[in-house]
């Protein structure tokens, strides 16, 4: 495993982006590294874009990464993968949850939601590795559609050379005890989806 990883988690307010990035930062600490996490969520609760940086290194200075240097872009929504793709280091890794949340600018007809093929081709033009998954369906299979963010963490864990137990423990510590089993299942489904 590389000792320096810059993550960028992006999505839409209400998708659990911040919880997932909290957990990813905690995993960094649990692996014995330094870790920082930084988010921007001014109007996020009102359907705006959410961005959250996570950085792992032996010693982390800035809590945010730099344009064009992100190693792993984790998009909780398809359009957001396209919005943030220039932050990725060329050859970096992208995880995409293939959920579409239509922005107001599209629903009122001022803009067009690009089609899936165009988004994926833009992402693939820059990324070295792209994993797409249907997080909602997998979360439903795990027993709760709100566990999408755990599914995504499962997929992310499969792409990094890190022990899955560390992730699972960090997730279980964070969620209410009655949801522990659902989240364990969601994590494993996400992990399997990315590994296959």
């Amino acid at each position: 495993m590389s000792e320096r990883i810059n993550f960028l988690f992006v999505g839409v307010g209400g998708q659990g982006v911040l919880t997932a990035s909290d957990i990813a930062a905690q995993v960094g600490l649990d692996l014995g590294l330094d870790a920082k996490k930084s988010e921007v969520h001014g109007f996020a609760q009102r359907g705006g874009v959410v961005e959250s940086h996570v950085r792992w290194a032996p010693s982390v200075g800035s809590p945010t990464g730099e344009l064009g240097t992100i190693d792993v872009l984790v998009a909780f929504e398809l359009l957001e993968a396209a919005r943030w793709i220039d932050w990725l280091r060329p050859g970096g890794t992208v995880v995409i949850n293939e959920q579409k949340i239509v922005p107001m600018s599209v629903s009122v007809g001022d803009a067009v939601y690009p089609d899936r093929a165009a988004i994926l081709s833009a992402v693939k033009a820059r990324a070295g590795r792209v994993v797409t998954l249907d997080g909602l369906a997998l979360a439903e299979r795990a027993g709760n559609i709100r566990a999408v963010n755990t599914v995504i963490l499962g997929a992310l864990s499969a792409l990094l050379d890190t022990p899955p137990e560390v992730w699972e423990e960090a997730i279980v510590r964070r969620v209410p005890p009655r949801y522990a089993d659902v989240n364990r299942a969601a994590f494993r489904l996400g992990r399997d989806a990315a590994a296959s």
């Binding site: 359907g47 396209a82 820059r126």
Partner: protein
């Protein structure tokens, strides 16, 4: 044990470790979570105040009595508290008094990016600025000690990035409930705490001497530290700027300033004398830089570093290169083939009680001027409503409306203010309007919460920070008792009733108040109803429902055969059944489903 804490959580932890007994705040991004975290420490009396001045005054009273006390606010909140803050610098205190100012470089959620380090210089009290969560915790503890040692308020300055970033904190103490004994009998010091002119004149030289004493302390305090490396470049820095610059100029020398006011001038001289090129890296104002230049020391500062906006790694890298200094080059990253990515601007939530009001307001554009205020309803300025003409600060809507009308505006003027903002700074200007017979309308949008900052309580809900239910203050009788006769309550989701109320208020030649009542969708008071749907055969694609600006109303793929315009569909997962779109549809194409409420 190491835990990830946000800067705000770490400030709360540090305050608790320091034995804080009383804490008060008015919610404001990015400071809100400090009090929310402190409320979790049993034994600490933590409260939401009705505004920042009240929060600070309450903390001052506690500190006069010998308690350690904290007031937290966003940077512009300090403007509200400044009257007392300036006096308190003269009076001093008994118990430690810490003012947390959370600044907002980059204006993520604020009306300006004022640099509140200037307040410390202006008011002649010390200011500490941490660079990560561990320092936030330690500096908060230190702030209480300094406050008592030097008998003055201490400002702890945070920024959005510090407050909302998480980094590792060594958590030592268990969070056990703390029982405070009653305070000792109040020690009277009217010669100090009663700041009449004769006493102020005596106190001022004491304040000046105090500043010199604190500066002398800072020369050797570990809170200011030199990290020696390659001495060809030396950087004086503080706060978040330190984190960016230590990455970009790794291996060079740093003077990291934790006590940003008063500055350790001898330490700065020593450092400057031992480095070849001196850089000063600080966000926003050239606060340190101007003082260093005034000492006759050459440095590179704001000629390369940005004066406005937040620092980032990229901006610091660019500044260092602009200074002709080595900064690790990044391989130029190719731009991805441009793809038109639609923006995701913030919008009023589905079911929001502000929607029907702003839909109506837009229709009065020719006859009215809209005087706005701060809250979710500030979004009334955005399309499709375009219904806000002025907005400057908390509570200003009412005063501005009054002045514009008194000066002879031809249009009717309407002030638009939320319930929490009304209790913050709306009562006094409304009393002024009643007193001077200001002929304008005040619309109080009562959604029973401080919504924009994430749902905090206030005097109008009667529920405390800890969730205890008390007596809510009812706005309508409160306004009536000021002598305002025209006061109308109206249902926030009743489109016609709101318009009728506006029409009626237009004719009133005296102060008129509308209380628009409807709970925020994030409160338990909000009632979801069966979702609505569009009958595509009846829909004429006229577009009226799109002008209510609801995220649940989408363009259908189906178009009208004659106009080619898109018909509407409603996302049943987002719809809350508020029926505003149903009420505005001119052809009754929208109907309530019999289905389950969402």
């Amino acid at each position: 044990m190491k835990r990830l804490l946000s800067g705000n959580e770490a400030i709360a932890l540090g305050a608790w470790e320091a034995g804080v007994r009383f804490a008060s705040a008015y919610p404001g991004t990015p400071s809100t979570e400090i009090l929310e975290a402190l409320a979790g420490y049993a034994g600490v009396r933590a409260e939401w105040a009705s505004n920042e001045k009240v929060a600070f005054d309450a903390a001052a009273g506690a500190a006069f009595g010998g308690a350690r006390a904290l007031a937290a606010m966003k940077h512009v909140g300090v403007n509200v508290a400044a009257d007392s803050l300036m006096s308190l610098s003269y009076t001093g205190i008994k118990g430690g008094l810490v003012l947390v100012s959370a600044d907002d470089p980059g204006c993520f959620s604020s009306q300006n990016e004022q640099d509140n380090r200037q307040y410390a210089r202006f008011g002649k009290f010390p200011c500490l600025e941490p660079s990560d969560s561990e320092e936030a915790r330690q500096f908060t503890r230190l702030a209480f000690e300094l406050s008592e040692r030097f008998n003055c308020p201490v400002m702890l300055r945070s920024t959005t990035r510090l407050s909302h970033s998480k980094s590792a904190v060594e958590v030592e103490m268990p969070n056990a409930p703390r029982a405070f004994e009653p305070l000792p009998p109040f020690e009277r010091h009217p010669d100090q705490y009663v700041i009449i002119p004769a006493i102020a004149r005596v106190r001022h030289p004491i304040v000046e001497q105090r500043l010199l004493d604190i500066a002398a302390w800072g020369e050797t305090a570990p809170v200011n530290r030199i990290e020696w490396g390659d001495r060809s470049i030396g950087v004086i820095t503080c706060g978040m700027a330190y984190q960016y610059v230590r990455e970009i100029l790794a291996g060079y020398s740093f003077l990291k300033i934790g006590l940003v006011h008063p500055l350790p001038k001898e330490l700065i001289r020593q450092f400057a004398a031992q480095v070849e090129t001196l850089l000063i890296a600080e966000e926003l104002d050239p606060f340190i830089e101007e003082q260093v230049r005034a000492m006759g020391i050459n440095c590179i500062g704001k000629e390369v570093f940005p004066l406005v906006g937040e620092f980032t790694l990229a901006r610091v890298r660019q500044a260092v290169r602009a200074a002709g200094l080595p900064a690790a080059e990044l391989p130029p990253a190719p731009k991805t083939e441009p793809l038109a990515v639609p923006p995701r601007p913030p919008a009023l939530c589905p079911g929001c009680p502000h929607r029907a009001f702003f839909y109506n307001l837009r229709r009065w554009r020719r006859q009215m001027v809209f005087s706005g205020d701060i809250g979710c309803y500030s979004m009334g300025v955005l399309p499709p409503f375009d219904a806000m003409d002025m907005l400057i600060s908390m509570g200003a809507s009412i005063g501005m409306a009054h002045g514009l009308k008194q000066a002879g505006a031809q249009e009717k003027v309407i002030a638009i203010i939320g319930d929490s903002t009304f209790f913050h700074a709306g009562l006094s200007p409304l009393a002024n309007a009643a007193y001077n017979n200001g002929c304008f309308i005040t619309a109080i949008l009562d959604n029973r919460i401080t919504a924009m900052t994430g749902g905090q309580h206030h005097p109008g809900t009667g529920i405390t920070l800890q969730g205890r239910e008390g007596q809510p203050i009812d706005i309508t009788p409160l306004v009536r008792v000021m002598g305002i006769e025209h006061v109308r309550e109206v249902d926030a989701w009743d489109v016609k009733a709101i318009n009728d109320a506006l029409k009626e208020a237009m004719e009133v030649q005296a102060p008129a108040v509308l209380v628009v009542k409807g709970a925020c969708v994030f409160t338990p008071h909000f009632q979801r109803r069966p979702v609505v749907a569009v009958d595509p055969d009846t829909c004429t694609a006229c577009g009226t429902c799109f002008r209510v600006g609801c995220p649940a109303i989408l363009k259908s793929d189906e178009t009208h055969p004659k106009t080619g315009k898109h018909k509407a569909i409603i996302d049943p997962l987002l719809c809350t059944g508020c029926t505003v779109c149903l009420q505005v549809c001119p052809v009754k194409a929208i109907y309530q489903t019999g289905g389950e409420e969402n």
